[in-house]
């Protein structure tokens, strides 16, 4: 599992992943915060429903796409966490529509 080696995490803020409360360092981006909290399954692919998570962490691969505050396709490695942020796994529902 991912963990932090910094003794001082700084200020923590609250975000929600799939309704679960997570307290994460304020200066993390969304992808880092989720990985640190033990989440590695960010979305499923549209074609084969494969589970995916961050790959490059620098905005190139677009594998860390996730639903943030109701918006799909958010590039989580490029977005800072903010207090009260509601994050959901990005999935395709049974009708095939997002």
């Amino acid at each position: 599992m991912f963990k932090s080696i910094n003794s001082n995490q700084g200020e923590l803020i609250t975000i929600y992943f799939e309704g679960k409360t997570l307290n994460v360092p304020k200066d993390y981006n969304v992808a880092t915060a989720l990985l640190w909290a033990g989440v590695c399954d960010f979305r499923e692919t549209t074609l084969n429903n494969m589970k995916r998570g961050p790959y490059c962490m620098m905005g190139v691969c677009f594998d860390c796409l996730i639903n943030i505050n109701g918006m799909d396709n958010q590039q989580s490695c490029t977005i800072q966490v903010s207090d009260g942020m509601k994050i959901k796994r990005q999935v395709i529902n049974s009708s095939g529509k997002k």
């Binding site: 932090s4 990985l35 589970k51 998570g53 620098m58």
Partner: protein, 461 residues
């Protein structure tokens, strides 16, 4: 449309972009720097200001060396826009970008593309599984947030791989194993270029020191392998490697892959810049003259965005490009351009002298650049396998653009960044043509995905 006007617009705040910006500012040019990250430094000096306050000495001297540059940049009058996503660069020197979902436009007398490098795709079986990330990602997590993974397996080749492994070991993070994919023959091929090494022994000694300390640390170090694949259903269960014709299994939950870096192409190509295939680096490079001027008038490309030479070289190439742009803007004379660029050229030639050695030593084997197994996914976004690409070629597909219509390969949100190089080499191999003939995707704006709302938010007059 309201466009802000600047003498020089620089895309990217890594060593090339920052060096260019600081120098241009000293010569009274108005400069706008647009950068995707939230702080300057690019990938090499990522989060350097944040780490300055901590005592993270395991990040190493080559990282700390970047600080004076960032301080100069902060002190300059340069207009710096962080968190800016550039989605359009036109040959007419207009730039469109968005910040927090709102679009802006700017026009420059001269444009510098200093968008740096990205990691080369590593298309092996299982590289799309959860728990597989690039080694660059591991380094970003470490530098920016101090986040690490214990008992991970690092697979690949290249200076950056040794650097991150060395940083992990120095920080006391246990590593399960390093699987070194450097082809054996490379050591011999590199020796032919050892003359260049004599001109810049510092770099090479640093590299050997990293490797020596990695081996000395007692971390399991596996080399001379002929193939590698990653197993698991949803997430990583193990890495398998083939050594002396025998497959061996290593259980693990996290794998970090790396096999070098390649230029960020989409920005330059979308503006119409010419490119060439570099056989030694096995990637496309953007054609530039000695001053970084591309084939498109008024657009220069500096640093790793044109061809891979590393951070120190990037800073020199950025400075040289800045002087040329200042000359084009008639802010300095031709003579000044020549005299002022001399010290940068001298430092650059020292950096370049060692490249043939490094490039030859760390050129990844073709079996890791083009997948061997038909079931390997080449295009991660659209989940296109090697088998599908071969099938398309079999029914007459002649190039990357056609391959898009046949398979959607390269049409996902990453816009071909993670499959383009593999596709060039697969086409070249299957059609028995040169990479130049096989070609690359046509990069078109928007060069980053944007929402309609973002497009519509452009200021209108």
């Amino acid at each position: 449309m309201n466009s802000a006007k600047y003498d020089i617009i620089i895309i990217g705040a890594g060593p090339a972009g920052i060096s260019a910006a600081v120098l241009a500012d000293q010569h009274k040019a108005s400069v706008l720097v647009l950068d995707e990250n939230c702080a300057p430094g690019g990938q090499i000096y990522r989060a350097i200001e944040k780490n300055q306050k901590s005592d993270n000495e395991w990040l190493g001297q080559s990282y700390q060396d970047g600080l004076p540059l960032i301080e100069d940049f902060r002190r300059s009058r340069v207009n710096y826009q962080h968190s800016a996503k550039v989605w359009h660069l036109s040959g007419a020197k207009a730039v469109h970008y968005s910040v927090n979902g709102k679009s802006h436009s700017a026009k420059g007398g001269q444009i510098l593309v200093a968008t740096g490098a990205q990691e080369r795709p590593f298309p092996v079986l299982g590289w799309t599984l959860n728990g597989v990330m690039s080694a660059g990602a591991a380094q970003i997590l470490l530098k920016e947030s101090g986040v690490v993974y214990e008992d991970a397996v690092f697979v690949g080749t290249g200076p950056l791989l040794y650097l991150i492994v060395h940083q992990y070991i120095s920080a006391g993070i246990p590593i399960k194993a390093i699987i070194d994919t450097t082809p054996r023959g490379n050591y011999l091929r590199a020796l032919r270029h050892s003359f260049g090494v004599l001109k810049n022994t510092k770099n090479i000694f640093q590299g050997w020191r990293w490797k020596w300390e990695i081996i000395k640390s007692g971390t399991l170090y596996i080399s001379n392998i002929s193939d590698v694949r990653i197993n698991g259903s949803d997430s990583v269960a193990s890495v398998e490697y083939c050594q002396r014709s025998k497959w061996k299994n290593l259980n693990c939950k996290q794998v970090f892959l790396h096999q070098g870096v390649t230029p960020e192409l989409n920005t330059s190509l979308s503006a119409g810049c010419d490119k060439s295939w570099d056989a030694r680096q096995a990637c496309w490079t953007i054609d530039v003259d000695q001053y970084g001027q591309s084939s498109v008038d008024g657009i220069s490309v500096a640093g790793d965005a044109s061809s891979i030479a590393g951070g120190v070289a990037a800073a020199q190439r950025g400075s040289i490009a800045a002087l040329n742009m200042l000359y084009n803007l008639e802010l300095i004379s031709r003579g000044d351009r020549k005299v002022l660029s001399k010290p940068f050229k001298k430092k650059l030639s020292k950096e370049m002298a060692v490249r043939p050695f490094i490039d030859s030593l760390f050129k990844p084997h073709v079996r890791y650049r083009t997948p061997q197994d038909n079931e390997t996914i080449v295009c991660r976004c659209e989940e296109v396998t090697l088998a599908q690409i071969k099938e398309s070629i079999g029914v007459g597909c002649k190039g990357p653009s056609q391959l898009k219509s046949f398979t959607r390969c390269g049409m996902g949100p990453c816009q071909g960044r993670l499959c383009g190089l593999s596709v060039t080499e697969i086409l070249a191999k299957e059609l028995e043509i040169r990479e130049e003939q096989a070609g690359y995707y046509n990069a078109r704006p928007p060069i980053k995905p944007v929402t309609l709302a973002e497009l519509a938010s452009l200021d209108e007059t």
